[in-house]
């Protein structure tokens, strides 16, 4: 019992960061599930982090209200942005959203009230682990149910074939926009939690590296199901801790593991079980029946 308590005390921050990263991975999963590759979620995270921290510190808004307002602000920004960029597809869409991320970062560096390059310091650390994990539980449940709703099916259809999806009566543009806006709000919520978990935030925390990291969580974990991004975020966040005994070789091994997963499980870690099943079916020569 004491061992468990000790474990939580030592790794409290890591456990918190895992939960926040899982929320971020789910935020990008929303657009990936609809077949859209966007890299703007680090910027939306920044909007939530700065928004909720500033509202709390300067205006005295209660924590949950600040989180909600940050998420709402992010959604409001995502709407016109999505309208503009969803003419684009694939790598062009990704680049356009990276551009948006850079704009947000530069704005945070210039505005008079965001602390410029120094960022914000002295943010009250009021995020508790249960805040993070309650959010994660609710979000994971809702997304899991949404997957099997008319909306989830419409997203999957758009991912599979946009032209055919439009022919089934799906308003493609509107559904893509909904996924994007929901993802932006979720990323901002995670950003707010993260800002109040640490003592300080600065624009550099929400740059291109962070955007790619969020994407990697989701892709390595696997986008076919809601469990994938959570699994990916957990493993990749915990990996540096697990590999600590390797000392300076740690990053090399982390990189190799990442490559291994992508090469052998291109659809993500969640497909591991599926893979074993198909292999067994191959053995009995029944793979094309399944």
């Amino acid at each position: 019992m004491d061992a468990i308590v000790d474990f939580f005390r030592v790794y409290q921050t890591t456990i918190g960061v895992i939960g926040i990263n899982a929320l971020l991975a789910l935020s990008v999963w929303l657009t990936l599930y609809a077949g859209q590759l966007t890299l703007g979620n680090a910027a939306f995270m920044a909007v939530g982090a700065y928004g909720s921290a500033l509202l709390g510190m300067r205006v005295g808004v209660p924590f949950p209200v600040g989180l909600a307002l940050g998420a709402a602000l992010s959604a409001v920004l995502a709407l016109p942005l999505g309208f503009a960029v969803f003419r684009l597809r694939g790598v062009y869409l990704a680049i356009a959203t990276i551009g948006f991320g850079e704009v947000v970062r530069v704005v945070l560096l210039t505005l008079p009230f965001t602390g410029k390059a120094l960022g914000l310091n002295g943010i009250p650390p009021i995020t508790e682990l249960w805040h993070i994990y309650l959010s994660l539980a609710i979000v994971a449940y809702v997304l899991w149910r949404v997957q099997h709703s008319t909306v989830g099916r419409a997203w999957a259809a758009i991912r599979e074939d946009e032209i055919a999806a439009a022919s089934q009566g799906i308003a493609v543009r509107r559904y893509k926009l909904a996924a994007f806006v929901a993802g932006a709000a979720l990323a901002a919520w995670a950003g707010g939690l993260s800002a109040h978990l640490n003592f300080s935030i600065e624009p550099g925390d929400f740059g291109f590296t962070r955007a790619v990291q969020i994407l990697v969580f989701a892709v390595v974990g696997g986008t076919p199901s809601v469990a994938g991004p959570i699994l990916g975020a957990t493993l990749l966040t915990a990996l540096p801790e697990i590999l600590r005994p390797l000392k300076e070789y740690r990053d090399i091994f982390a990189g190799l593991i990442l490559m291994g997963v992508i090469i052998y499980l291109p659809r993500g870690l969640v497909t591991l079980a599926e893979l074993r099943k198909t292999r067994r079916l191959h053995e009995i020569g029944a793979a094309d029946v399944a």
Binding site: V142, A154, E160, I163, A164, A165, A166, Q168, D288
Partner: protein
């Protein structure tokens, strides 16, 4: 008239893909659209289904002007189609494909889904299952991409029928089907028309068109060069020269 095209045109660069085509399709029939390769048949279908916008002219469906409406809006109004070369949602199951086809007829069940034990789409799943039976498609849980080609074609028709259309556009549905499959397709079309559906059939297989359609229009170089009953079309010298003649020689 269920569908009326009034001098519609579409250009790609300097090419008149569709030039001032008039069409009037009465309800409750199979209307054939034939023409040599590159005659503009698929472009015409894309204009009617909203995937392309007309440069000029007007389209009326069930008495309302629908020129320039998006594909999803036209599906909601009752136009469904299949694609030349099949466009299924390959990563979804057979049943899911048909359920997506019902999208226009389903209310959003997003909120009702949040209730843990809710299966708000049970009735829709039932109807989708009936369509699969009708099209002789077993294995509702198989991935659509893994089906044999003929099955994929029939699944695409099932998906189109799921939206409860008034007008069904079939773009070369018999391509890749063997003779018994194509005979069953003809029976299916007759049965659907008997239930009140109107079908536009784009087809290369002249025999299928002539044996199934009440009226046939012939396109060549984007223009309508003839329209009439199958026997009138077969007797027309212009058609013979543009299409049937060359086909016979081959």
């Amino acid at each position: 008239m269920l569908l009326e095209c009034d001098r519609i045109s579409k250009r790609f660069g300097g090419v008149h893909a569709v030039a001032e085509v008039d069409l009037a399709i009465a309800p409750g029939q199979v209307f054939g659209l034939i023409g040599p390769n590159g005659a503009g048949k698929t472009t015409l279908v894309n204009l009617i289904s909203g995937h392309l916008r007309v440069d000029s002219g007007a389209i009326r469906f069930a008495g309302a002007d629908v020129t320039g409406l998006a594909p999803h809006a036209l599906t909601t109004r009752g136009i469904a189609r299949t694609f030349q070369g099949v466009r299924l949602f390959k990563g979804l199951t057979v049943l899911e494909n048909v359920l997506v086809g019902r999208h226009a007829r389903m209310r959003s069940d997003l909120l009702r889904r949040l209730w843990p034990r809710g299966t708000p789409d049970r009735a829709d799943r039932g109807r989708a299952g009936q369509l699969l039976d009708r099209l002789a498609l077993g294995r509702p849980d198989a991935l659509a991409g893994g089906l044999a080609y003929g099955d994929q074609r029939r699944l695409e028709i099932a998906r189109a029928l799921a939206s409860e259309p008034r007008l069904l556009i079939l773009d070369e549905p018999a391509a890749g089907m063997n003779p018994p499959e194509s005979a069953r397709l003809r029976e299916l079309m007759r049965a659907l028309v008997a239930e009140g559906l109107t079908i536009v059939l784009i087809e290369h297989d002249v025999r299928l068109v002539m044996g199934t359609c009440e009226r046939v229009a012939v396109l060549n170089f984007g223009r309508k060069i003839a329209e009439g009953t199958p026997s009138e079309i077969q007797a027309s010298p212009a058609v013979r020269e543009a299409y049937l003649g060359s086909e016979d020689a081959a």
